[in-house]
Amino acid sequence: MSLPGFWFGILLIMLFAVHLQILPVSGRIGYDNEVAAITGFLLIDTLLAGDIAAFGDTLRHLILPAITLGLPMTAILMRVTRTSMLEVLRQDYVTFAEAKGLPRRRVLFRHALKNALIPTVSVAAIETGSLLGGNMIVETVFGWPGLGRLVVESIFLRNYPLVQAAVLLYAVTYVLLNFVADILYTVLNPRVKL
């Protein structure tokens, strides 16, 4: 889903950064904020440093790339959730919850959604895995020194050790994401135990 991302990203830049000038065009953080690298994740580091201004700045830099990268995934997750919600709404326990005279909101969100989110979580884990690999275009557009770009360049430069390391990192991240998804499963679905 990376291709429309390019077009969409430039569009967002033109609107929010060039015309409205409320968000930055590119980069991860402004240059007035010096933050000690502890984890390397700027959002976390700025919070650890207690620097709220830098945290806000990092957040501002994150908005457009995050939207660009996340929007196609939103569409997929919406579809999955919709399908599974339709499925769940047919279940007996939803009828029973209705029969209990519960407020509609509670039936939908507490009873139905909690169960409907189970496939959403697993799809989200898989899709996040594919985001990992497909984000080099967004990295390029927003000038982020990202792994995707690094790997593509390394492939072209035949820098195989780096590619191997990156692939390992991808695999580990993928496994970790699925692990997180599994933990979320147990939260959503008590029948599943780790």
């Binding site: 326990y93 009828t95 679905n189 008590p190």
Partner: protein, 330 residues
């Protein structure tokens, strides 16, 4: 005894791909306070849909298209959805066939029990902590009432951690949490072992006596009806075919279908005799002509039966939908 629920000429239809299905076709019934009404019929005879209609829980593509449902003096078809919501769970409660599917697998038993109280119980105290404690106490009380040991710890558990009979009890506890005036028990025992069936039915009967509520017991088991119900109503293909006091209907059925049902039950008293199942199948409910629906399976059918048959009086407090009800009794 005053009338609690009075349904007349109820009609519920489903728009399916094959055509319009009249799942409930002109059903009238009456439940008095404290009374137990048994509703019998094969699968697809419209028993469950009838009471889903009463609860206002018919889902698209189904729709209640005619009739009135008076409950406690109010027409349930005529009130706002919010009012209906307030009645459900508080005044009319329902249990479903299979507690395994009716209980939400993702929520604890305590939460599923407590939420009914939150939704309906106006006697709960105002403060957050006090409210929680009150809900907890009531939940424990309810689980105790349906005979679940160690209710405090069990409240924190999930449905899958209970046995089938326990789950059924929990569902009943949830249904009874607000002391409803009417409990609709939709096949409360079909999913259970025989021994547990008996326990659960005992429980319902017992609580009915204690709380003084009316019960509608939907089942296909005439034996259960005979044991627990004051009156019985037999449904076939979306219509009521016979109703009356239990002992009379079972002792002397006035509709060939009821008779067939009785004949197909293996009974100890009739050991050695062959079981006689009703031959044929329930007719397709799409586009049924307005004539006796049991006609094609009826051993007593005559060509003259091919007309629309109304419910006819069949003795004191009894009615049946058969032109030859005298002959049935014979």
């Amino acid at each position: 005894m005053t009338v609690l629920l009075e349904v007349s000429s109820l009609r519920t239809e489903f728009a399916t791909r094959a055509g319009l299905v009249r799942a409930v076709d002109g059903v009238s019934l009456r439940v008095s306070r404290g009374e137990c009404l048994g509703v019998v019929g094969e699968s697809g005879s419209g028993k469950s849909v009838t009471f889903a209609s009463v609860m206002g829980l018919v889902r698209p593509p189904g729709k209640v298209t005619g009739g009135t449902i008076f409950f406690d003096g109010r027409d349930l078809r005529d009130i706002a959805p919010e009012e209906m919501r307030a009645i459900r769970g508080r005044d009319i409660a329902m249990t479903m066939q299979d507690a395994l599917t009716a209980l939400n697998p993702a929520l604890t038993v305590g939460e599923q029990l407590g939420e009914v109280l939150v939704a309906h119980d106006e006697t709960l105290p105002a403060g957050r902590a006090a409210r929680r404690a009150a809900i907890r106490d009531k939940s424990v009380e309810m689980l105790g009432l349906v005979g679940i040991p160690a209710p405090e710890t069990r409240l924190r558990q999930y449905p899958h951690e209970f046995s089938g009979g326990m789950r059924q009890r929990i569902m009943i506890a949830i249904a009874l949490a607000c002391r409803p005036q009417l409990l609709i028990a939709d096949e409360p025992t079909t999913a259970l072992d025989v021994t547990i069936q008996a326990q659960v039915l005992e429980l319902i009967t017992d609580i009915r006596a204690r709380l003084g509520m009316a019960v509608v017991l939907i089942t296909h088991d005439l034996g259960v009806v005979a044991e627990h119900c004051d009156r019985v109503m037999v449904m076939y293909a979306g219509q009521v075919v016979e109703e009356g006091p239990t002992d009379q209907v079972i002792g002397a059925p006035r509709h060939p279908y009821t008779r067939g049902l009785l004949a197909s039950i293996p009974r100890p008293s009739l050991r050695g005799q062959p079981i006689r199942p009703i031959m044929g199948q329930v007719p397709d409910l799409v586009g049924l002509p307005a004539q006796c629906r049991f006609h094609s399976r009826c051993p007593l059918a005559l060509p003259s039966c091919l007309v629309e048959v109304p419910m006819m009086a069949a003795g004191p407090g009894r009615r049946a939908r058969c032109l030859r009800l005298e002959e049935v009794a014979a």
